[in-house]
């Protein structure tokens, strides 16, 4: 069995085949928290994951705290073949070097333009305790970064999505203080580090005031971990540009879900064997 990723790709492709506009997002936390893994072996596993994500047609990934555990150059080498942007709205490299990720992403999906902002906690290094020097990486206050970027993103996009690795409290505070975000998706890796808790694709809302007694509820979803579930939500934009978010649901990823054969072909039936086979040949498209 190829695992959850092939089946997640299968769900996305089935919806695309039905003619639906689909955006496939990852809230971050691709790198494992287990620091005992040998970097060379881990790099091979992550490269395999990224090839599979390319085949699954991921649109955007948020940079999670764990992605920085082995430093900026390990991250950049691992992601060099990613065909999707990695957003890092409040994390970057110090002066004189290339950015770590994109400050935000703008996706053109048929007639809809979507902006994606991605944040991680300001105290990421205190949470992940990196095993190597990371003093070339600068993480700024996520609230300040969102406040600065949001007007620019809003000008270009009809709907704005926040991918957050920050805790629930901070994510909600950002939604309350930065008007213009239509929905938020929280990743698990941040909460796992701070609370040792994993949760399913649950949805809650933040009610914000929009003046003259009007209020608006911005939904906050939490991405599931370990490939057991896929979150799904529908964004509607009417002819006046008003955004409505509805139909949040959880798709169980089990044997009943048909896998995407392109992803299955990359992952194989046995990940360990696939990694062995890949080690024996140069990576396709390697720069």
């Amino acid at each position: 069995m190829a695992g959850g990723l092939a089946r997640i790709a299968g769900v996305a492709q089935a919806l695309r085949n039905e003619g639906k506009n689909v955006v496939l997002l990852d809230s971050g936390g691709l790198f494992p928290t287990d620091k005992k893994q040998v970097p060379i072996r881990l790099k091979k596993t992550l490269e395999l994951a990224i090839d599979a994500m390319n085949a699954a047609q991921y649109d955007v990934m948020n940079l999670g705290p764990t992605e920085l555990t082995l430093g900026s150059s390990f991250f950049r080498q691992t992601f060099q073949n990613a065909s999707f942007p990695v957003v890092a709205s409040n994390a970057g490299l110090k002066e004189g070097t290339e950015p770590l990720g994109k400050p935000y992403a703008i996706l053109q999906c048929d007639e809809i333009t979507v902006g994606v902002i991605g944040i991680m906690p300001a105290n990421t290094f205190a949470l992940i305790k990196p095993t190597i020097k990371v003093d070339d990486i600068k993480i700024v206050d996520p609230e300040a970064a969102v406040a600065q970027l949001l007007p620019e993103v809003r000008r270009q996009a009809q709907a704005v999505i926040l991918l957050s690795q920050c805790n629930d409290f901070l994510t909600r505070r950002i939604l309350m203080e930065a008007p213009g975000i239509d929905l938020a998706i929280r990743g698990n890796s941040g909460s796992r580090i701070t609370t040792a808790k994993t949760s399913s694709c649950e949805s809650t809302g933040v009610t914000v005031s929009r003046g003259e007694g009007a209020t608006l509820t911005i939904p906050v979803y939490t991405a599931s971990s370990r490939g057991a579930e896929l979150g799904s939500v529908i964004v509607n934009i009417d002819d006046q540009g008003a955004v409505t978010v509805r139909g949040g649901r959880v798709i169980k990823i089990d044997d009943s879900v048909k896998p995407d054969l392109r992803v299955t072909a990359i992952l194989g039936n046995d990940i360990a064997q696939t990694l062995k086979n890949r080690a024996a040949r140069p990576r396709v498209g390697q720069k």
């Binding site: 959850g4 691709l30 999505i161 890796s189 991405a223 370990r226 799904s232 089990d254």
Partner: protein, 46 residues
């Protein structure tokens, strides 16, 4: 002449009003999301 113009204008207004579709056009996007993705490489449950 004024009366003819008024009739033409009224006819055009009615025709124009009728020809505008009343149905609002909305666009829809399905957002799928994951997290902690390395776990997705392990066999799915079930």
């Amino acid at each position: 002449m004024k009366r003819i113009c008024a009739v033409i204008l009224a006819t055009l207004t009615i025709c124009t009003t009728v020809s505008i579709p009343s149905r609002a056009h909305s666009k829809e996007l399905t957002i799928l999301y994951t997290g902690d993705l390395l776990g997705h490489l392990t066999p799915a449950p079930g």
